[in-house]
Amino acid sequence: MKRNQSKITVLFAAFCLSLMLCSFASSSENPAVAAPETTEEAKPKLTVSLELGEVTYKHYCTPCHGMKGNGNGFNAGSLLVKPANHTDAKFMSARNDAKLFDTINLGGVEVAKSTLMPPWGVNLGDEKIKSVVLYLRELCQCKAAKNW
């Protein structure tokens, strides 16, 4: 979910965090201190759903991809590359869910497409992206042609 170099950072951070958690677990007489460290997990986990996907899409994607998802957002006119038409079943079925996830997560550049398609991984998080993928399938009324 991160750019290459930060993947390492994340791994390292996770390692540190688990070390810290272990040490807190062993010194269990002071549980209050451990609490702030786990705020990430304290956040209520979102559930992946079509509704969440629609709300997220309408807020973040429609300026470029349009309210209908056909690539005609109010900002599309100012882009050198036309935003993808998410209602185009042929175009969309040529991309499997994992690829769509990567595109949204890390931006066009991740799938050898234009950088005019921004990366949304940090803003959205995994659950929202997965939900958006559900909504994209709803928009195109299509499935991935094959699961490569």
């Binding site: 991160k2 807020h59 957002g73 050898a112 950088t115 921004p118 940090v122």
Partner: protein, 719 residues
Amino acid sequence: MKLSFKDTKLLLICSAALLVLTVLMFLFEFETTRPWKGIQRDFVEIDKQVTEEALAKTQALPDSAAKTEEIKRLTKHSNELDSYMPTIRQTWLTHFDTADRCTTCHLGIEAPQFANAEQPFTTHPGDHIASDRHSIDTFGCVICHEGQPVGLTVDEAHGHIHHNWMTPLLAGKRAESSCEACHAMGSDIAKDAILPDAPSFTAGRTLYLETNCLGCHVAKGYERDAGIGPTLTKLSTKADPSWTLSWIKKPTDFLAKTAMPDFELEDEKITAITAYLHSLSKIESSSSKARKNIGNSDAIERGKASLTDLGCLGCHTEDGKDTGFGPDLKRVAEKTTPEWLLAWIEDPKKYWPATNMPDLRVPEGEAQDLVAYLSTLKSNEVSVTEPSMDKELIEKGMLLTKDTGCTGCHSIADFGLGYNAPAHDGIGQKRVDELVFADTKIHHTLADWLQLKVRSPRSFNTEDMPTLMPNFGLSEEEAEDMLTFLLSIRDRENIPAEFVKVLETPGTAKTMGEILIQENNCTGCHKIKGEGGTVGPDLSFQGQRINPKWMTDFLMAPTKIRPEGIEPTRMPTFNFTEEEASTLSAYFADQSKVSYPYYKPAKKEFAAADREKAWKIYFQTFSCQACHAWNGEGGIVGPDQSDLAKRLRADWVKKYLADPQKFIADVQMPNFEMYPDELEILTDLIMSFNEIPAPVWEQIKKRWDDEELAKQAAAMSAQ
């Protein structure tokens, strides 16, 4: 019978002895019944109990030197109590040249251990006298609570001996009316300023000013405001006489929370006043411009959306509850015409220069849509009637308008603003025999009189003394606060200058900023300090974000920052003066604890290679131009960046680029997870945008655009 000299002498001696005996007996009688002695003996009992409890508690503690010390002290105190002889306690208040004997009975007033004791022994609430600020040795009780400080019976001490006693006791909240003597809170201090520790006084003062009592009355230290009601000289261009009639009759029937009071006028008087007011102007002729979209359902739909998008609902309500800053709009079309609405929306200050409604800079078409929608907001058909032309009625109405006090709030024709109701100077020390109680059954005290007067002003009306004061519909609690305030308006000449200390300093950026925010209802649309509307952006962190110089200019003449597609709302023009605008920008800087003014960090010299790298990041790696325009050319998701360097603080930009969501949770700007060196050179680049001439910018952009196009072409041919 003739009395001998001897007889006379005997008689004299006897009667003298009798006299001495009577006097002695009388004195003895008085001595034994002096109530304060009994009170002091009761107190000794309570004190003993309290001391014993404290002793038991101390003994349970682990041994220490402090414990031994405390036990010694308590035992000594207990012994002293056993041999206590009642004595009058008197403090001489040197600064005020008066004695104060209140602590003769209020024995526990300074000692925290009596907090749960009953009156007169209970501890003083709060930390007023515990702290040095209001030490009882300096101020005694009488300086704040009044009464008769040398009295030694309850009634005497509390000034209840005679109903005309000038300074009866001010108990509870009412003592707050004395704070003002040292801590002046006159007109030069904000309407909603707070006098610390005096909540009732503060609320009463705010109410007094907001209800516009000063429209009709005068009071020393307070100045008359501009009229709080709209001008009535042009009434016919706005409302129909039938509406005016029903409005004057009962304003709250039309607007639940209006500031207009009920004058309880007879119908014939209302008719005359209405005739006069409408004789001052003529109905406006129907205009096709205002009525262009009336009845057009698409326009009505658009107008309804505009009401939200423009932020009108930041101040107005639409549900009839009338809880907003501006009037409720549910029945606005019953009151006024499309012609008036259009003119008002286009420039509210033209009709009423003192209005708080800002100019929303609505283009004509959108204004017409709004008028179309607003014109549907009515529950019954509006009649359009020519105002009466009856000369006599109009003449009568004119006299009544003047006498009723309409000019206390409204400017009307050539009448000056204001009304000469009795002055409030010294109202907090009015003698009871100066008051008319008519046949009311209330206690004959000033406080009771004032309380009834503010809640139900006509209660004391008599045949030859009718009063015209209207009813403001105050609640019981509001009346109590108003009373506290009114009691504060009394002359206190014996306050030594050294104690006079204005607490609410007028003129600091913080208080002045808060006044402006309140007066203009900024929180109707924006969050400030975490509270307020969501129509406009959250202003809680704007101080760290915005260069105050830019903010001052913006507030004086706002422009659109965020593109229409992301934020349809426009910041309205409030016509702030430069002074007001800079007060606000200083306020926001102060709130965020950042420098005011803003000093740009010293320019760092970047190597040409770094600059080149920064451009690549801007146009290619992250493609900022996808969402941001420069001089109107480019993306329309985020704000235009050509004047960004004048608008933003560099340190904020860096923090924002690193994590935009930290400031706006659902921001539509991606977090690009930049590396520190990228952040550094990119911030530097965009903070220098205002120094780049347009042709240079275009040249650079073209280079990167060409590269993008070439990439696309290559991808196409590869397919």
